[in-house]
Chain length 376, copies 2
């Protein structure tokens, strides 16, 4: 990667909006240097990029890179060893809300390396989550993290925060992808979290340092969360949640889309239920389900949850018919048991002896009755 | 339908267990009279049907029918106008837990006609339901009932009870299919409900009057609930719930299998989540979803739930970029808005004027700011 190209990419990052489909698409097709030359010289193309072209004269990318580096912020671009190749899936993946394509680079703060996110899992959801949702998100992130996969989320209140906390509780790497610059703290209440991520993990943004968290940038940001990870879990989302936009990106990029259900009475789960109802998203009941779905085939198969087995469960239908006909307190002769069971006496006698050897029934002088074990 | 055949069918009902695959299969293939003749005369076949053959001598079907009729209980058999033809799907549908095939007849108490269950919906679930589950079951049954479809369930505590209550609250027909005789009240606390159903709707069983509610009979009963209805909704089920057996039958019979999600923290929803996770069952969020799935194509399409639309939602991405850059309190000149938005001044001026005409921004002597409507 030449320094010229890195500088050209930083320039584009400074003059074009994150996820600007036209600018990024053209920059990708022409190459960043050629795109900037066009932006400078071709009046006809400049019309489509008025703002970007106007900004060209005002930015000083070398100085921005230098000042960023001084503050521990690096600009990772395609071709760098650290570049997460999975982002290239965004090329030609179209747009949602007019945002799309591969970013020209990512601004990163913190020691976490982006090329280690290939098996990561995104855990996203509502800012206005419930205690239930926070618990579910934290549990999912902790299980995913404990299995050695990084967690990726945004930096917002609610599910994002719970996901990072869950990953950290498992000692796992976790990465926040922001809509604003990686040097901004939004919301400000998350300063301790962001400080921790910047020191031990990573904070990532497509927008250059100093950028404000405009709403439109969240839509651009969501595609990065989906593209960086192998699967996206939506934990609580109202009908208009940005998390559903992330899920749409994940689906479009052929990532695994997952959702955790909640009470039908909770508006915070409505968006997830809609996602699950429409198909395309898999219902997951926890981190183990997530690992099964994002894992390579056979890598992490979930044990189907099973109810504890009762002694009766192992019996044949015939034997259960007999057990059902044996009284619990006053003993009954085998002829009576046979009548109640609707079976022949000889057969019932045989079954009763087998059941007695398993400790499910006992024979008293006056007949048969269930043991305590048989009553279970 | 000849009285001879009805009598033969009643005889089989009295000597064979509900859902006895071998007996019912043979009775269906040979015809009921011929099956009884074989049972009486062929020593080699009698070996397989020891109990049934032994009982033959002891039963008096004519008297049972007569006494049942005197108590308002009728025996509905294939060929009767009231016979629900959808039960014939059980022929050759195999067995679960060795129970299966078409019943030889159904014992019915109450004025509700079984041939009116073709579009009915089964609402089943845990006996040990939560308040949440009871609410969901009641709501689903009420919506389904209000749409003119009968509800079918068992007679147990919990979801069964809530489903009947929900249907009744909508003035809709509801039918209880029991594992015991239709004259038995099990559980006894449901006497008022059963009395009401017997007077206004219907109570149904494959087992003859007087039969006890043996566990094995619940497995036979479940196939009837699934077969009688167009779809089965499971509302809360633990991992070992009988409702999952009903769902398996519904799937096997190509009925619509549905489940309502609940909190992941609730054991009462674990079985439903497992069902939804494995596929084969559709997640439904209420009666409207159920109606859409069981309805004929296009008959009852659900309006996708939508969050209320905010004024900003109708804007183009470009216009939203501008709105995002307009301050909420201290007005800013359009050049400043353009800089923040990353767009050209001329373009921003144009957009601002359009936004002002929609009442989203206002122009003051010192510049532009958002209106209250624009802040929403």
């Amino acid at each position: 990667m030449s320094e010229d190209e890195r500088l050209a990419r930083a320039t584009i990052s400074l003059v074009a909006e994150p996820g600007d489909l036209r600018a990024l698409g053209l920059a990708r097709q022409l190459g960043p240097g050629e795109f900037l030359a066009v932006l400078r010289d071709h009046a006809d193309l400049r019309e489509s990029f008025t703002a970007a072209a106007a900004r060209l004269a005002t930015v000083d990318p070398a100085r921005v890179l230098e000042r960023a580096a001084a503050r521990g912020i690096r600009f990772v671009v395609p071709g760098d060893e650290e570049w997460p190749d999975q982002l290239d899936d965004l090329a030609g993946a179209g747009a949602l809300h007019e945002r799309g394509d591969v970013p020209v680079g990512l601004w990163v703060r913190g020691p976490g390396r982006l090329d280690q996110l290939a098996g990561a899992v995104a855990v996203v959801g509502s800012r206005t989550s419930t205690t239930y949702g926070d618990e579910v998100a934290g549990d999912v992130a902790a299980v995913v993290g404990a299995a050695g996969r990084a967690v990726v989320s945004g930096g917002a209140f609610g599910i994002d925060y719970a996901a990072h906390r869950g990953a950290l509780s498992a000692g796992a790497p976790t990465v926040a992808v922001l809509a604003c610059g990686v040097d901004r703290v939004y919301p400000t209440a998350h300063r301790p979290l962001f400080d921790h991520l910047a020191e031990h993990h990573a904070i990532v943004s497509e927008a250059p340092p100093g950028s404000a968290p405009f709403r439109i940038r969240f839509l651009a940001r969501n595609r990065l969360i989906a593209a960086l990870t192998r699967g996206t879990v939506v934990v609580e989302a109202a009908l208009r949640s940005g998390a559903l936009n992330t899920a749409s990106w994940a689906e479009r990029l052929s990532r695994v889309v997952m959702g955790t259900p909640g009470p039908l009475t909770s508006a915070s789960s409505e968006g997830v239920h809609q996602l699950l109802r429409r198909g395309g998203a898999a219902l997951v009941t926890g981190g183990a389900d997530v690992l099964e779905l994002v894992g390579a085939a056979g890598e992490a198969l979930v044990d189907e949850p099973r109810a504890p087995e009762a002694p009766r469960d192992r019996l044949s239908v015939r034997a259960r018919q007999v057990v059902d006909a044996v009284p619990t307190s006053a003993p009954a002769p085998s002829a009576s048991v046979a009548r109640v069971a609707g079976l022949g006496v000889a057969e019932v006698d045989q079954v009763l002896r087998a059941l007695a050897s398993e400790g499910l029934v006992e024979q008293l002088p006056t007949g048969w009755r269930l043991t305590e074990r048989g009553r279970r």
